[in-house]
């Protein structure tokens, strides 16, 4: 087990993931244009296409390899104002799309909690958002894209043409080839505003009941307090939102003004500060029910307002954990996870819980599946953090759930292969020149039996 603090005078690698753990040396090769030549002509050795680096662990890292940096491939190709179908290069970010689309009365079909991700990355991780129960994953709204292979082969993929490559590439973690351009089906809006309705809850049962009674709301998500115990255990705020139906001015968002310029010392985020933050967050809403008309920016991207918020965690970075547990016995599993966190003494700054709906993901390796999903982040406190993650992974396995590669830096090959039994089928579509540190870890041969070192 490697220790994150075993670092000499820091020379930051050329590219870091959002969690800033692990830090792995690699060569960054910016792609300014859609390559006209085979990927193998661009650089020798193993390669990996990467975008904004907003995945947390190592799906966007390749130790000692070449990272094909796509963010300069940011040109729009076509837009049909009648249907809302946008065609763009894969390095276009969701923020770019919003700047373009909102003034024209269109919005993203699916958005994660940050708009600073590329279209290519959104497809490669088949991202999901607060509307998973009504819209499914991002990949469902990508009718077509082009895949460029290391041998120069160009494959235009859709649900009907090259459908096997389509399925392998959506959620394929960038390993099947370079996505050069894609179509994104936008959805219409008449206002920037979101009709918001928040409800305070205490306990997982109440959360599940609220989820069931709120299925007609387009967006639902909950913040949950993972620190408090006793009568406040698993308290939270259930948030619903719908695009406002009353037309209002569709201006463009302004750039964020705040940026966290320096790393805070790691100890700033400790049990007490996190507890205080969680209490503040809970009491920000005074009454049990709150209704308001709010702008989409704070509703979808509360953290994007502060650039580089990951520096809150100090230089050692942070670990993310996101699992989905099937509804059957899922509540019990979530309770076990919350209890494992409280007993570890670690505190999750922001914990988010949501139910995924029945809509099937188009990707072979897509993460979302029907059930309850929980996302947590932890500061890295050496073995304590790793042990906790190991325990959470174990609970996830026991409950027949799975973990999200885009938010992982630690899952073992055995765990991954249990979560994604179709991984060998997927491996047939890998581009021989592409790899990632994540993939090298989780596709390693496994010994029979043991799911890691567990002490539950």
């Amino acid at each position: 087990m490697s220790e994150p603090r075993k670092r000499k005078k820091s020379t930051s690698p050329a590219f870091q993931s959002w969690g800033r753990y692990p830090q792995l040396p690699a060569t960054l090769l910016p792609l300014y244009w859609i390559p006209q030549s085979p990927l193998n002509d661009l650089a020798a050795g193993p390669k990996l296409p990467v975008g904004m680096g907003r995945s947390y662990g190592d799906v966007c890292l390749l130790e000692n390899g070449t990272l094909l940096h796509t963010v300069h491939m940011d040109r729009l190709i076509h837009f049909d104002p009648a249907t809302g179908l946008l065609t763009c290069e894969s390095g276009v970010t969701l923020a770019d799309i919003l700047n373009f689309a909102v003034p024209r009365g269109w919005f993203l079909p699916v958005t994660p909690g940050t708009k600073y991700v590329t279209v290519g990355g959104a497809i490669a991780n088949d991202i999901h958002g607060k509307n998973h129960h009504t819209a499914g994953t991002f990949g469902r709204h990508v009718p077509r894209f082009e895949l460029l292979r290391s041998d120069g082969n160009r494959i235009v993929c859709s649900p009907t043409a090259n459908s096997d490559w389509y399925a392998a590439t959506i959620g394929g973690m960038g390993l099947t080839g370079l996505i050069t351009w894609a179509e994104v089906q936008l959805r219409p809006i008449v206002s920037r505003k979101i009709d918001y309705h928040g409800t305070k809850f205490v306990g997982i049962e109440e959360f599940v009941a609220l989820s069931q009674s709120s299925e007609t709301s387009e967006y639902t998500v909950s913040w949950i307090d993972c620190v408090s115990q006793g009568k406040n255990f698993a308290r939270g705020i259930f948030m619903r939102g719908d695009h406002a139906a009353t037309p209002s001015r569709l201006r463009q968002s302004s750039d964020p003004k705040l940026t966290l310029p320096i790393d805070l010392p790691g100890f700033m985020l400790n049990k007490y500060t996190v507890e205080a933050f969680n209490a503040l967050y809970y009491y920000k809403q005074f009454t049990r029910e709150k209704r308001a008309l709010i702008d989409y920016e704070p509703f979808f991207y509360p953290l994007d307002g502060v650039l580089h918020w990951n520096r809150l965690y100090g230089r050692d970075g942070l670990l993310q954990f996101q699992c989905v547990l099937p509804f059957e016995d899922g509540q019990h599993g979530i309770l076990r996870i919350l209890k494992a966190i409280t007993s570890s003494g670690l505190a999750s700054f922001l914990a988010v819980i949501k139910t995924f709906g029945e809509i099937k993901s188009p990707g072979m390796m897509s993460f979302p599946a029907p059930g309850i999903t929980l996302a947590l982040d932890f500061p890295i406190r050496r073995e304590v953090s790793f042990d906790l993650l190991e325990r959470l992974a174990y609970i996830t396995v026991e409950h027949g759930g799975k973990m999200y590669p885009a938010k992982d830096a630690r899952m073992s090959a055995l765990q991954f292969q249990a979560f994604y039994p179709q991984w060998q089928e997927f491996a047939r579509y890998l581009d021989p020149a592409l790899s990632s540190s994540f993939w090298q870890r989780v596709s390693a041969p496994t010994a029979n039996g043991l799911l890691g070192n567990i002490h539950v």
Binding site: Y32, W33, R75, I77, E89, F100
Partner: protein, 257 residues
């Protein structure tokens, strides 16, 4: 001569596939999606790249984009090219000259032919274009001529003096042109970017002094709106270069810059 800023809508971009030119062109498109009144005439060498830039601008709301793939080193072709641009746009409100090469200093030191190539692309080609455009704008009594130079033109340094000389000479040429046609109501804007993260500098390790092309593009637009003559972008380079320019030569010649 002071004139209030009017948003240009008929624009010629020379070196239109450069990162700074692409970012700047996008800024010129009306932010109001319902208003589509920006017309572009784009010139660059590579037709495939040019086509993708044209599509980008059209998709983002440009009213029309005409592209012309030529090598701007061919100065003899400039008058016909610029006449074609004028015919296509009706008239020119803004011309941006954005093409250039960094060149290889080591090679240029050893070999005059390499130096001549840099001077052709970075100096003679722009001078040929500026000559035509200055006369055009002067006759029109209106317009903006914006040229991307570099902070490297402020002082010769051993690491980069061939590129620096091309930009330094360009600066002086532009000063003279401004002195001549500003009084006709023409803005002559010398843009001096510092380090910008573009293909030109992709091989250099990027430090905190590097700016994005988007940031530089915003700086250029602001300088146009304020009707500046010379604009360092980002602005802090004005300070850095003031220091660099004022180091006595006796000391400077012994520095490793």
């Amino acid at each position: 001569m002071y004139k209030p800023y009017r948003r240009p809508t008929r624009i010629v971009v020379l070196g239109a596939t450069s990162s700074i030119a692409m970012a700047f062109s996008r800024l010129l498109i009306a932010p109001n999606a319902q208003l589509s009144d920006t017309h572009f005439f784009l010139v660059a060498r590579n037709p495939v790249k040019l086509e993708s830039v044209a599509r980008d601008l059209l998709t983002r709301g440009a009213a029309s984009v005409v592209i012309e793939a030529v090598d701007l080193d061919d100065t003899a072709a400039h008058p016909a090219l610029l006449q074609a641009a004028t015919n296509s746009l009706g008239q020119i409100d803004l011309a941006l000259i954005a093409h250039g090469v960094l060149g290889d200093q080591t090679e240029a030191q050893a070999n005059y032919a390499a130096t001549a190539e840099i001077l052709t692309t970075n100096l003679l080609s722009p001078i040929s274009l500026i000559t035509w455009l200055a006369n055009y704008f002067e006759a029109q009594n209106d317009g903006t001529l914006a040229v991307i130079s570099s902070v490297a033109g402020d002082r010769g340094r051993k690491s980069n003096y061939v590129y620096g000389a091309s930009k330094g000479a360009l600066n002086i040429f532009l000063d003279g042109v401004r002195n001549r046609i500003d009084r006709a109501g023409v803005q002559v804007l010398t843009i001096r970017p510092g380090f910008v993260a573009t293909p030109m500098t992709a091989h250099i390790p990027q430090g905190p002094l590097f700016a994005t092309p988007q940031k530089v593009a915003q700086g250029i637009l602001k300088a146009m709106q304020r009707r500046k003559d010379v604009a360092y972008v980002p602005g802090f380079w004005a300070l850095i270069m003031a220091v660099i320019r004022n180091i006595p030569e006796g000391i400077f010649k012994n520095l490793d810059l």
